[in-house]
């Protein structure tokens, strides 16, 4: 959980960076999420107040796009690719395995706040299918067997 002070400072700095440009709302939310790893309710209220945009509008954007999360995310975002190339190479089985090994369903975060498991529809790494992206690292040619070892490297 972030303190109100951190949230306030982050939001203020980011809005300033974009000169409070309302058309930059998506970019602003992206930057806030990058800093805080999710979009806390307090941050959204603050953006609404400072930029004079109704909170419902901001909520609409924050829930429309898949990149945004209203719940805190773990230190590492584990994105299992379910693009077509990954699907035909067994992506669904890999998702099952990740769910079992992390002991959380897709979309949730592990109790130690280390991993958030998410499904993505194509990372554009189809030539390396099936893949999982953990943080910024793409792991190519993933196998069910290889998953425990990869996860261990992040612990």
């Amino acid at each position: 959980m972030k303190t109100m002070k951190t949230i306030e400072k982050t939001v203020k700095d980011i809005i300033k960076k974009y000169d409070g440009d309302k058309t930059a709302m998506i970019a602003i939310l992206q930057d806030v999420q990058e800093e805080l790893r999710y979009l806390p309710k307090e941050a959204l209220s603050l953006i609404s107040k400072k930029m004079e945009v109704p909170l419902t509008r901001i909520y609409e954007i924050a829930t429309f796009y898949n990149a945004f999360s209203l719940k805190p995310r773990g230190k590492y975002l584990v994105e299992i690719c379910l693009g077509t190339a990954c699907h035909v190479q067994g992506g669904a089985n890999l998702l099952d395995r990740l769910e079992r090994d992390l002991a959380i369903p897709s979309g949730e975060t592990t109790p130690d706040n280390m991993f958030t498991l998410a499904e993505v529809r194509c990372l554009g790494c189809c030539s390396l299918a099936p893949v999982v992206r953990i943080g910024a690292d793409v792991h190519p040619y993933l196998t069910q067997d290889g998953i425990p070892k990869i996860l261990r490297n992040y612990k």
């Binding site: 998506i26 970019a27 954007i61 429309f64 190339a85 529809r121 189809c126 910024a136």
Partner: protein, 637 residues
């Protein structure tokens, strides 16, 4: 970097760039696109940098984007004065010292390069420059020439002309390949209408999938009322299975930027936007750098090349919504709103971004523009086939040996792509179908293997070009599952604005899920068909109206598989978990115990060196046992 105002300045930059592309001393180039990095290219680059420093070698270390043959990455190209450019495949940090030894010795006696390139193609300048002059030594001759490698043989690199060849961080190298000369030509020697006429005459069709003539779009936008107009690049490459736009944005960002500036001048727009997917951070970084360089050189800004034309270019980042690849949704998203599409009876070329005339083309389309302006419409129409001039970039992925990005003249038969360029299906399995066009496209079965790959032929076959993803499927791919997969994808990505798409796709997904779960009923197939027709007629945007394509095309060509699921409760391909069971063949099992150890649900038992058995009540059908068995003793029924 200094400002470029005149042709002389441009020539100076080209000279600098040429010296960097074909240098007078040894240069090593590492392919560091997204796929290269994921295969370990960064480690190779770091190892090379470390070793070069340690040995105090006088070698230039450079970077490039993805060349296309992703299955042999990381790729490292070595250029030595008067020798062909050698490509070392599947490089690792471990191999670095040995390769460097070879370079120092000037020999290729240990690790063999995958292929050699004897010349560099400056396609925009209609020129080829040899890397090596004179005859090759025997050891070099023994390395296959790139033109003899099946994967590259039929390719013609036009939109991806610089990908994997030049350093994407250097505007000089781009200029040396003829870059920004087209812009110079357009701004100083051509009138806007002339440019549009040229693009119309070239027959360039939108490479994003629709295949609408780009020049006609430009013309309508130019003629539209309004002082302020926009040009937009659609870099929201959301079709799963396609990544060519990412490769171009990463590996040759200037080609897109130059195309857009030319387009903006022709249309009369002074502002441009590139909308890039959230999933492509490297593309954003490389574009950002390139825009900065173009601005410093004066290609973006006020009074470009002294023509009086002003242009500014910005990047808009998506936030993970497939529907934002649709033009109206993309523009709404650029305005900073939730990217919902709107009905298209009002065209975006008249009322687009902020209700102003806006011309949107995708990455590959823009990247073609400088080449057309430079070489002319006549040359462009000489490539490809009737009504489909030029090339198309495809991403050949899935169950195929040579996985990668290929650019071919349009009209090549599908079988050449699958068997020649792609090298056929791995593991001796049989080709079953190829899926093109992403979730809006369809599957082409083996019966259509001779089909000409162009916009019209694919459309007539019930699929579409789409952005160019080609996912190859073999006998172990279930076509009902594929249809369910796409419908599930579209249900998730549907924005929910119109009822046919929001409700219809959801119901179709439920029916397909039931069929895959063995709960299919008689009449389900017919119901799917009638719902598909409703979607085509009723949905607001292309996402919905084409959503049924994966179902319709699989039904058309693979109806028997549907019937097997519904009537016999069988999945012939052995994919749908509710309809299959794994078992061990007694005669083949050696009792090695590998499957027993690997089974995550501990449902395999048996003593060492004795036949093992699977407890069907505990089996979760993950298939790990089958993957790990070296004796093919595990079968799916």
């Amino acid at each position: 970097m200094s400002k470029i105002n005149t042709l002389e300045d441009l020539n100076k930059a080209a000279k600098r760039g040429l010296e960097a592309i074909i240098p007078s001393k040894t240069k090593i180039v590492v392919g560091v696109g997204t796929s290269g990095i994921a295969s370990g290219a960064q480690q190779v680059y770091d190892a090379l940098a470390g070793e070069i420093k340690k040995r105090k070698l006088d070698i230039i270390l450079s970077k490039t984007g993805a060349m296309g043959m992703d299955c042999i990455e990381p790729l490292v190209d070595v250029l030595q004065p008067n020798k062909p450019r050698l490509a070392y495949s599947k490089m690792t940090a471990k191999k670095v010292p040995e390769v460097l030894d070879q370079i120092v010795k000037g020999a290729v006696d240990g690790i063999k390069p995958a292929y050699r390139m004897d010349e560099e193609d400056f396609i925009c300048l209609d020129e080829k420059k040899p890397y090596a002059k004179g005859p090759l030594s025997k050891d070099l001759k023994d390395i296959p020439a790139i033109g003899s490698v099946n994967f590259y043989k039929k390719q013609l690199k036009l939109a991806t002309r610089n990908c994997g060849m030049i350093n994407f961080e250097s505007i000089d190298e781009y200029i040396a390949k003829g870059g920004y000369f087209s812009l110079y030509k357009a701004l100083t020697k051509m009138k806007p209408d002339q440019i549009i006429d040229e693009i119309i005459a070239s027959g360039l069709r939108g490479r994003g999938g629709g295949g609408f003539p780009a020049g006609v779009k430009w013309q309508t936008c130019r003629r539209a009322h309004g002082d302020i107009k926009y040009v937009i690049c659609n870099g929201d490459e959301g079709d799963p299975g396609a990544y060519m736009d990412r490769s171009v944005m990463e590996g040759d960002p200037h080609s897109v930027i130059e195309g857009m500036i030319i387009g903006a001048y022709a249309i009369g727009a002074n502002q441009g936007f590139i909308y890039v997917r959230n999933e492509y951070p490297l593309a954003v970084a490389n574009l950002q750098r390139a825009i900065g360089q173009a601005r410093e050189c004066g290609f973006i800004g006020k009074n470009i090349l002294g023509s009086g034309f002003d242009f500014d270019l910005k990047i808009g980042k998506g936030a993970g919504a497939f529907v934002c690849g649709e033009s109206t949704a993309l523009m709404t998203s650029l305005e900073g709103k939730a990217g919902e599409p709107r009905a298209k009876y009002i065209h975006t070329v008249e009322h687009g971004l902020w209700d102003r005339p806006s011309n949107l083309n995708n990455v590959e389309t823009w990247a073609n523009v400088p080449a057309i302006i430079s070489r002319g419409a006549k040359w462009f129409t000489s490539i490809g086939c009737k009504n489909n001039s030029g090339t198309k970039v495809f991403c050949l992925v899935g169950k195929i040996n040579n996985i990668g990005m290929v650019e071919i003249p349009m009209g090549i038969p599908l079988k050449d792509i699958i068997y020649e360029i792609g090298g056929g299906i791995p593991g001796g399995k049989k080709f079953k179908a190829v899926q093109t066009g992403g979730p809006s496209g369809g599957c082409l079965p083996i019966e259509l293997i001779d089909i000409s790959v162009d916009f019209d032929a694919l459309w007539n076959a019930g699929s579409m070009m789409g952005s160019g993803g080609m996912i190859v499927m073999d006998e172990t791919t279930c076509m009902v599952d594929i249809a369910r997969y796409f419908i599930d994808f579209l249900e998730f990505e549907s924005c929910g604005k119109c009822v046919p798409c929001r409700e219809g796709v959801q119901r179709m997904n439920e029916i397909l899920q039931d069929i895959c779960d063995g709960k299919g009923k008689e009449g389900d197939i017919e119901l799917l068909e009638s719902m598909s027709k409703g979607l085509v007629d009723g949905a607001l945007c292309a996402l919905g109206s084409t959503a049924a394509n994966p179902i319709l095309s699989t039904l058309k060509y693979f109806r028997n598989e549907y019937i097997a699921h519904v009537r016999d409760k069988k999945c012939p391909a052995g994919v749908c978990k509710a309809l299959i069971r794994f078992s061990i063949v007694k005669d083949k099992c050696t009792g090695c115990g590998v499957c027993l150890k690997k089974c995550p649900s501990e449902c395999i038992s048996g003593e060492k060196k004795k036949v093992h058995v699977i407890d069907q009540t505990k089996c979760i059908k993950c298939g790990v046992c089958k993957e790990s068995c070296k004796f093919d003793a595990i079968i799916v029924e």
